[in-house]
Symmetry: D2
Subunit: 342 residues, 4 copies
Amino acid sequence: MTRTRVAIVGASGYAGEELLRILLRHPAAELTAVTSRQYAGQTAGAVFPRYRECRLPFINPDPEQIAALAEVAFLALPHGLAAEFAAPLLARGVKVIDISADFRLRDTEVYARYYKTPHPAPDLLRRAVYGLPERYADAIRTADLIACPGCYPTSIILPAAALLGAKLVETTGIEAISLSGVSGAGRKVELPYLFPECNESVRPYAVTGHRHLPEIEQELAAAAGADAVVINFIPHLIPVNRGIHSTILLQARPGTNAGTAVDCLRAAYDGKPFVRILDPGELADTKHVTMTNMCEIGCAFDARTGRLIVSSAIDNLTKGASGQAVQCLNLNQGLPEDTGLN
Amino acid sequence: MTRTRVAIVGASGYAGEELLRILLRHPAAELTAVTSRQYAGQTAGAVFPRYRECRLPFINPDPEQIAALAEVAFLALPHGLAAEFAAPLLARGVKVIDISADFRLRDTEVYARYYKTPHPAPDLLRRAVYGLPERYADAIRTADLIACPGCYPTSIILPAAALLGAKLVETTGIEAISLSGVSGAGRKVELPYLFPECNESVRPYAVTGHRHLPEIEQELAAAAGADAVVINFIPHLIPVNRGIHSTILLQARPGTNAGTAVDCLRAAYDGKPFVRILDPGELADTKHVTMTNMCEIGCAFDARTGRLIVSSAIDNLTKGASGQAVQCLNLNQGLPEDTGLN
Amino acid sequence: MTRTRVAIVGASGYAGEELLRILLRHPAAELTAVTSRQYAGQTAGAVFPRYRECRLPFINPDPEQIAALAEVAFLALPHGLAAEFAAPLLARGVKVIDISADFRLRDTEVYARYYKTPHPAPDLLRRAVYGLPERYADAIRTADLIACPGCYPTSIILPAAALLGAKLVETTGIEAISLSGVSGAGRKVELPYLFPECNESVRPYAVTGHRHLPEIEQELAAAAGADAVVINFIPHLIPVNRGIHSTILLQARPGTNAGTAVDCLRAAYDGKPFVRILDPGELADTKHVTMTNMCEIGCAFDARTGRLIVSSAIDNLTKGASGQAVQCLNLNQGLPEDTGLN
Amino acid sequence: MTRTRVAIVGASGYAGEELLRILLRHPAAELTAVTSRQYAGQTAGAVFPRYRECRLPFINPDPEQIAALAEVAFLALPHGLAAEFAAPLLARGVKVIDISADFRLRDTEVYARYYKTPHPAPDLLRRAVYGLPERYADAIRTADLIACPGCYPTSIILPAAALLGAKLVETTGIEAISLSGVSGAGRKVELPYLFPECNESVRPYAVTGHRHLPEIEQELAAAAGADAVVINFIPHLIPVNRGIHSTILLQARPGTNAGTAVDCLRAAYDGKPFVRILDPGELADTKHVTMTNMCEIGCAFDARTGRLIVSSAIDNLTKGASGQAVQCLNLNQGLPEDTGLN
């Protein structure tokens, strides 16, 4: 069997490290290049001592060179920069699986509003497929530009889109309260992410305009067949390394309860290896999914208020970023969806 | 100056330990007795090594003996048991400051529904005052039975009651999502509270009928002047020792926004030493209040959904339990409210 | 390829859970039975929700039934009990890989002194092989009773035995200071292991007679070719889930320094997949090895005192227990040593 | 009573914040100035939101202005810079309590070797008193330049100096293995101190030439009446916010055991409010001392090796820095040693 040659462009952050972890043991992918301006010349093993045995050297990110080395490139770059690299790579026949935010939003005006900059490559947007395999598997199989979802959106869209699609809940009154481990902030060397600033602390942030908000709304509207869905999204930072938990409050339609919600989700994700639907009344725990590509979902129902309470947990770096990107690679390469992910 | 002689009944848990911490250095209170069946005969210092210099011995909880030793008794007992001790203590002229749930709910049927047992002392309920000093100071000053609020309710009622009272928000559509440190579960030796079960984990629990729910609804209804207020209350367990953060979503009435909400809260709690209202848009962080009796509150407003987003943080053992109990003692004894609490 | 049928006897603790994690994806082993008196009747997935998809039911531990189902049994039982199960299993032709302490010590008197009970199966001791693959691979290949090392001993013996064997250090003046994550205490529901008792805390314990002490001394004496080696072993508990770090102080012989020590260790463990020797002056970090079967070792030298300072890190549940047990299984079954362990 | 006017020079780090915490409630000190180039113009409450009610503005550090505002200045500056400020402050009659390393070492050559720079103010060294109140109280009472000990040294010198002074242990073969919370690294915005780099990790560092080493050796030699004492000092970083634990191994002289060591320490520190000697065999736990100025010390003895094992715990920011500095202030101002520290 020939293995797909893959590159990680911008491999110096936590998502890059997680790609390294997965790809180094992936049976059908061969990691041929890792790029980082900051670490060019050093080996991946020197920069990420967990993988010290990996002697692959970081190189400067050059599309020509990447195209010579790889058939597929994962982009783990800041937004804006990702789009700059996508174009020359695609032009050279390299498929792009982008972990940044650049190709997630269909509407460039929304992009401009939330990212405070014009969209860097509007022409490419049409080619981009939203890389949520449980919902867009067919498109992912044939795409050459895949925009992997954000970590928070993955945890929220998976349950909420299915429930909206089945008309079990209203399209209004949706609220998602999410809690993220600190690795979700990236490997950013800034005061708020120092250990003593995060440990023994919990705090919400960006509660009215987080950049993941429009992405969630776009996908929920698509699932509901609605022009628009407007939600509240309230992220919090908690002192764990990995893991996102989202509690999603939705207004139940008549007849909906925990049992029908669970049935709906089980039907929607039947046979999907990375979605786990708990029994009615059971709730998700990030501890059950860290270091895996699993999304665990539970449902409860408050008859007094009519609210369906959905609890969802993922590992922000795996299912929320790099694991999902590899799941997309697998689909795109005609491999079993869970290759290298168990 | 003569100091008030006080006892801690049921001092072997975390709330008891926190009372010990505060009372050992309180300038106007003298701790004369600590009780615990489990530890009778041992000194408080042996059981709580932080206070090893404290040679006060644990005694068995006997109302007669407590009455001989103390003018005021803090009850840090399980619900049900607290009510059993309150009656004989009150009969002997000992004032009771109860940290349990026994005297918080005005309605014995609600108590029976949530605590799965008939109320153990309905006759005493009428004498009980809800021990939230920022809202019931006058009643606390003259009470002989004070029912201290639960930890979650304190963090939610303080902001929400003021906003409801000022008619800035609707009485419907209220949702409180709370995150608690593990000490909130008490010093219970049970599997879910082992370190490896809690660390690197976050999970919601009791999302539809937590025992603190009716207490919150009772106080919000009182504040709103409504017959009833029905809310969703969603607690989560997070891996910190101390601290509760509540994110409260309320439906803004016309004209309400973060600025008017902050103004309202500042007016409501003007001069209160243990309520800190942040500037509009700023959010609370438990790190700022742990080991203090402070409640920190911030407000944001989402104009798209009309939701007022309130962020509130306390230390669950201090303002959420023992510190608030001492604040009640201070008021009740005619002392400055913050005596021994800074 | 036929897979080896294996059972986990006493699978309800953390070492059992870690065996589950590894064996469920082991390509050459088929997990056919898990036993637990406490959980009999429940599925492994229900007891360990990370592996919820595993429908294998817990059964009561019965040697007859285990022998019908498995060729190899992992014993993850308390000491004493393990020996009771080993005999009937061996009698029925089931190979035994024991994670308990029952067959680690060659000297039954030492066992009796440290475990406060006579050795439960002295006759079997002669058949037992010490399951440290990097040092006893040949014996492990042909053994039918393998006694896996303790977690602390693994982290200490790997570096110290090689240095002693090469005569780079003295056999006296050895001191091992170890730091363990809380999962090392097992899934014991006891007060000292509650989250609030462990978090934000560090404490040494059992500093003069820990049960792992004689095991370390036995193996260091064997490596040194000495009648006896007497050391200080000082374990501490730190607030992490997984990981052991040992700092080992040894008296350098003339000519020994960090460079020669590193050379010696690299020669000793050349080709071994689970030993990583850092460059001179570099030190180990548990973060680099958690969730892996790796032992990472670094050396520094203090010329002022002549002390060689060795830093060693493992995951206490993987290389310190269950991963090492599977490594033994692999050797014993003629498989590549790292099968299912990457 | 007039209160002593005090300033904190360089108040923007964790030691500065801890000084703020203590001084804001100190009954006999009035905080009149806080300086920070970085934060000049902002209030202390804005920079440290725990103390948000504090409206004192940060000013640029100007000796003239500080002298106008304060009688005593705490220097919480990097080494090198502290000495630069000490001279002009002393010249203006301001007493200096320095938390940096500049005046701890008597020997300027040792300073130059460990700090890689010539001593910035050798003339002032003679005036400096080592600010360890349990050992130098008389000198501290009359000093105008007090050099507060480092955090690690405090935890090691307190027990070891007393045991050496009483000749219970040898002056050779001393080893101190210390574990520090991350706040000990200061509020340095560097990659190794990010939450995900520290959490679930433990690692030694600077094991052969840490800057606190010569300070420990200087004080142990003084206590032993020896020309020099040479030790191994092995610091580790562990994932807690606050707390240092030191395990100190000393060679017992004939007749020494845990009981005689405890007796010696109790005699040495009789009446000292901030030293707690545990019973023989009991060991220290950082959890018992965090947020206090206490040093907790326990002793065990290994008769097999003749090693006395001393366990010592402090809060690195309180007794290890700012609390101890205030303890020095108290002595120097003729106040009870524990004023404002309970």
